[in-house]
């Protein structure tokens, strides 16, 4: 039976050699190599649940009056977009499950990518010949940020509407061209022209998913063609030879098992833990706001940065060269992207090491990279922390203004401290190991 199918495929596509190679393709063995797969499976579920959602969503910001099943919003003016999501959530069977699963999948997708990037970075997997793979991955990460932001902004609820206003202000804050950029993207002053929502919609369901899919395909092809990196584990694992488990029969059930586990976690969350209950927030109106509004977790670094920057617009005479949101909302993420993107090149330049690397380093084996990376991460992480300062005020009563001042200092001091501490730790660990083996 199997032979019939394979013969069919080979006669028509000439695929037998490829399939034979693929079946016995070698996967080096380490649990941390599975993190990228977790992201992949999240993406698959995002597309699947997303298609379902497109069948119900109305991408229009034109206002209507609600007369649906949810009593607290009776008679409330709202956009058709918001109303369509309300309807899906409250009146369509399984609608809320799919919607919540989709939203959880987006959050977990980004968490998985971040974990995967951390693993790639701290083991030096981004070195030649995989620097291109790494750049493609970074492009996916930043596309995913935008994709997620657009996704939850489409719903036009109170929280995400506030978030769109902030996005608009960041666009406007770009020096010189900001006003033009904002007017271009929104089709006019905020809240924008009637085509703004359809524009966001098409970006979210077509343009960006196509870009991510193309990047993903390139990423996987590059990974497969170069073969996966490996840790130095035995005399057999060398720069010239990769050792591991073949796709079939060894790796396939593990990958499938992981895929089902990812689906399980996401559907369980989608059914059991409420996410973005938009009927509680109400629809967005320009003149309304709520306390405690936050972006989805993966943009938390940005809200922290926006809150930390002291109060000034950089002016030259009467010309406002750099409005305030630029530093935290635009420069901060661009700097991070640049640092991450240029890192492989910078490392090559500084260490003079231009060779190909297939073996990974344990974080402790490269104290400079690990400590610089940890310091950089600390800098970013403090963005998340300062964005949560109001939560800390609520729980612990710590004065909000005092925390902001503390973070303004910490954000420059703590990374330096972390650098020295981590570098020392790496060296101590390596020395201790050396001692043990003697």
């Amino acid at each position: 039976m199997i032979r019939r199918i394979v013969r069919f495929v080979d006669q028509r596509a000439g695929a037998a050699p490829f399939v034979r190679k693929a079946l016995r393709y070698v996967f080096p063995d380490h649990w941390s190599f599975l993190l990228g797969e977790v992201a992949l499976y999240c993406f698959i579920l995002l597309v699947a649940t997303g298609i379902y959602l497109t069948l119900f969503f109305e991408d229009s910001r034109s206002q209507t009056i609600y007369h649906g099943s949810y009593k607290p919003l009776q008679g409330e003016p709202m956009s058709r977009a918001y109303e369509s999501v309300l309807h899906l959530s409250l009146d369509v069977k399984a609608g809320l499950l799919i919607r919540q699963t989709h939203h959880w999948a987006a959050n977990v997708f980004l968490a998985a990518i971040v974990l995967h990037v951390l693993r790639v970075f701290f083991t030096g997997a981004f070195r030649k010949p995989r620097d291109l793979t790494y750049l493609v991955g970074l492009a996916m990460l930043f596309t995913a940020f935008v994709e997620g932001y657009l996704g939850y902004s489409l719903v036009d609820d109170l929280l995400s509407g506030m978030g769109l206003a902030i996005g608009y202000s960041v666009a406007l804050s770009v020096p010189v061209i900001g006003a033009n950029l904002g007017l271009l993207l929104w089709g006019g002053p905020f809240p924008g022209s009637p085509s703004f929502f359809p524009r966001m919609y098409i970006a979210h369901v077509l343009i960006l998913p196509l870009i991510i899919t193309a990047l993903l395909t390139l990423h996987l092809v590059l990974v497969a063609s170069r073969h996966h990196t490996q840790f130095r584990e035995s005399p057999k694992t060398t720069e010239k030879q990769v050792v591991g488990v073949p796709t079939y029969p060894g790796q396939a059930p593990r990958s499938l098992g992981l895929m089902f586990a990812v689906f399980a976690v996401l559907f369980l969350l989608g059914g059991l833990v409420q996410i973005n209950p938009i009927w509680l927030w109400g629809p967005y109106h320009v003149g309304e706001a709520t306390n405690g509004a936050q972006p989805d977790w993966y943009l938390g670094w940005l809200i922290g940065a926006l809150r930390l920057v002291p109060a000034f617009d950089l002016t030259v005479g009467g010309y406002t060269l750099v409005p305030n949101p630029f530093w935290g909302g635009a420069l901060f993420p661009v700097v991070i992207l640049l640092v991450l993107a240029l890192w492989p090149w910078a490392e090559r330049k500084v260490t003079g090491d231009d060779g190909l690397h297939n073996l990974l380093e344990r974080p402790r084996d490269n104290a400079w990279r690990t400590s610089l990376g940890a310091a950089f991460l600390t800098w970013i992480f403090l963005g998340f922390m300062s964005g949560s300062a109001d939560r800390v005020t609520v729980w612990l009563g710590l004065d909000y203004a005092a925390q902001i001042w503390a973070y303004r200092v910490l954000v420059w001091v703590l990374p330096v401290v972390v650098f020295f501490v981590v570098r020392r730790a790496c060296r101590e660990l390596v020395a201790w190991e050396r001692l043990k083996s003697e």
């Binding site: 599975l34 959530s89 306390n291 972006p295 977790w297």
Partner: protein, 241 residues
């Protein structure tokens, strides 16, 4: 055994008592005056005239204010510079009524309100709450922050306390008179708050009705850790052939 049962029954009834004051307890203004002298005069003055840098005057605040501040435990306040916060009330019901009755004699203030919220409009209340209250108290009454203060959640506020707070504007809260928020509007707002205490949570565990922040916590502490654990289990080395 009977006694134990009796005590157990009382314990179960006790929390229910805190919701609305029981009937049949009589206020004693004289007792209230001595309670005032012992607990309040230090900051508010011996005659309720207020003391600079200590406490405001209580003239014309009425039973409405007294009832609010005492029953929430906002007052007495140890440190006049601290933010009043909901605390355990150490006064008995009788003492509360007496104290409030005394405070009501300082000038001529409003009486304790009785909001009629059960037949009021939740949609209208939500609209009003969004415009006047959500900026501080959060759209789902979870409370929050502004520079200089914590803003309490309203989950523990009784309908009466909500009505009182709107008219007082305690601490840094704005104060809305009957003209700014009419009695009908106030009933609607109370109706909405009562709804929001146990809103439609058909999506599952509500994680505090705070939105993206607890959702991020769940993403990392539940989902990411479960999936990393799964990766570790799947990736565990096995004996090779």
């Amino acid at each position: 055994m009977k006694r134990l049962l009796f005590i157990l029954v009382l314990l179960f009834l006790a929390p229910a008592r805190a919701a609305e004051p029981p009937q049949g307890v009589v206020a004693n203004v004289a007792q209230g005056k001595s309670l005032y002298a012992a607990n309040c005069s230090r900051c508010h003055g011996s005659r309720g005239e207020g003391l600079r840098d200590q406490g405001p005057s209580l003239k014309d605040v009425g039973a409405l204010s007294g009832d609010f501040y005492v029953r929430t435990g906002y007052m007495p306040l140890d440190d006049p510079h601290a933010q009043p916060w909901r605390t355990r009330v150490l006064f008995s019901e009788q003492e509360i009524r007496s104290l409030v009755a005394f405070v009501a004699t300082i000038g001529h203030g409003p009486a304790i309100p009785t909001p009629h919220w059960r037949s009021a409009s939740v949609p209208a209340g939500k609209k009003l709450f969004t415009d006047r209250c959500a900026g501080c108290h959060q759209i789902a009454i979870a409370g929050g922050v502004l520079p200089g203060a914590r803003i309490p959640s309203l989950n523990q506020a009784t309908p009466r306390q909500i009505a009182e707070a709107v008219r007082i504007g305690p601490y840094l809260m704005p104060k809305f008179s009957r003209r700014a928020i009419t009695p009908t509007q106030l009933n609607d707002i109370v109706a909405y708050v009562q709804y929001a205490k146990q809103p439609d949570d058909r999506g599952g565990w509500a994680i505090g009705h705070l939105g993206p922040w607890p959702e991020g916590m769940v993403t990392w502490l539940l989902a990411a850790s479960a999936l990393v654990a799964t990766c570790i289990v799947i990736g565990r080395r096995q004996k090779r052939t």
